[in-house]
Amino acid sequence: MASTIQPAPRSRLGGWVYERLGLQGLAYAVPEHANSLPYLLGGITLTGFIILFITGIYLAQFYHSHPADAHQSVVYLITGAPLGDMVRSIHFWTAQIVTVTVLLHMLRVLFTGAYKRPREINWYVGLGLLAVTLGLVFSGSVLKFDQEGVEALQHNKEAANVIGSLGAWFSAEFSRSVPLLTRLFNGHIMILPLIFGLLIAAHVYLIKQHGISPKVTPDAVSRSTTGDGASRFNVHLLRMLGFGLFVLALALLLSLILPAPLGQPGVAGAEVTKPWWMFVWLFPAEAAWGAQALVIVPAILAVLLALAPILDRSPYMSPARRKVLLIVAGLILVVIVISGVVATLQPVAAHLD
């Protein structure tokens, strides 16, 4: 068992900060495997979100959310605002990386059975965070209001029509004084970040209460690990921050090599683009079943993910003891990947009514 006593910093200033902020409280025990990359994916995602919040604040100073001005304001951001193109590209690439890490984090939790008792509620909080992340990515893709953004918004409105009054927020009648694009911008910078903040607070609180899920061994059972472990949380936190800096470095280099794309000003009623990779896999389903597929397919996936802790009730965490669930999950994942590849290779097709 590791000591939970953190050695005090040597410098006077460090000691002052250490004492005043009560940083010794962060030196509680955590299992050593919590410091491995698969168990740091959630933390890496969180540091990515910090980059997104900071760059997003800068971008909001130049972005105009009226549909008639939005695209031109992004053009100005790229061509006129100080470091605007770079900051926008960092925002774009960090969003792409964060989407990858949040999906990998969810797959790791699914694969290791980390959703099992006593962590079921945190699984649902995590699903909420996944939904918010995808909502942020989607609304962000619309805001630039280029052709891809306008088409994404049109698909979204068709999907909103499918769910009737529940989709009323996306109708013009919901607010006659504020355009939908402006409300989406408000959602992107206020509503979704607020929900994200509440959910991440709950997520971190529940991790603190139950500890990180036990290391997966053939006989490992799900249990609380609070107070267990040979490492300390402050070490875990530093590794999380370290990998977060890798994310920043990657986003910086990608931004330099491949600046965030911006298409021509959006033209309504046309379909000549495809959505981003995290949504393109829905295209074949939409082609087959229409706009309702945009609601039904994600809803089915969400229900299946929500059912995982209910159907898989054994305490064992080893994948070898949970073959049925993991085979089903694997098959769904393969279908999604194939669907995405097919949609990427297919020529653009019109789906809208």
Binding site: I78, M86, S165, P179, L241, A249, L252, P259
Partner: protein
């Protein structure tokens, strides 16, 4: 206590299930336009409410270049619950931009809604954004960075990497 809780839960459930509708005072006519972003040459549906049955509304598109008549619509219904739903075509030569759709009677009653008009659908393109030179020539946005910015970004990336390694290897 239990009855109070049950009542509270019923109220919360009722509020959650109530369809979202816009509450409006009677008297002034109101219009909503769908879609709110339309291509020049495309169609819009104007939905009018809070109108006297039989009232005839002239529908116009108002923009920087003046007002364009789109047509007329007559309210139908009973008492003050009258209204109309009518479809109009935006002229193909309307310039892209922000417009107001206005529905007005000869008696002076009027209602308005915002509409954004884009280029005609045939102009849609997946190509990268362009800017226009003063000469009128279009070219793809210049994304090249000054040398100082490139050096600063590379330095920031390398610093992040080094600091990241240091933090990860620190125990």
């Amino acid at each position: 206590m239990k009855a109070y809780f049950v009542r509270a839960m019923v109220i919360v459930a009722a509020l959650a299930l109530t369809p979202i509708r816009v509450a409006l005072a009677h008297g002034d006519p109101v219009i909503a336009v769908e879609p709110t972003v339309v291509a020049a040459g495309g169609q819009i549906t104007v939905n009018g409410t809070e109108m006297e049955p039989g009232e005839v509304f002239a529908i116009t598109l108002e923009g920087p270049a003046g007002s364009i008549s789109l047509g007329e619509a007559t309210a139908t219904g009973e008492s003050e619950e009258g209204g109309f739903t009518a479809t109009f075509t935006i002229p193909a030569d309307v310039a892209p931009g922000s417009y107001t759709v206005r529905a007005a009677t000869e008696e002076g009653e009027s209602a308005q809604a915002d509409l954004t008009v884009t280029e005609p659908s045939a102009e849609a393109s997946a190509a990268p954004a362009t800017t226009q030179e003063p000469t009128g020539e279009e070219h793809v946005l210049d994304r090249a960075k000054p040398a100082g910015e490139i050096i600063a970004v590379i330095a920031a990336a390398l610093t992040s990497l080094a600091l990241g390694f240091w933090l990860i290897r620190r125990h």
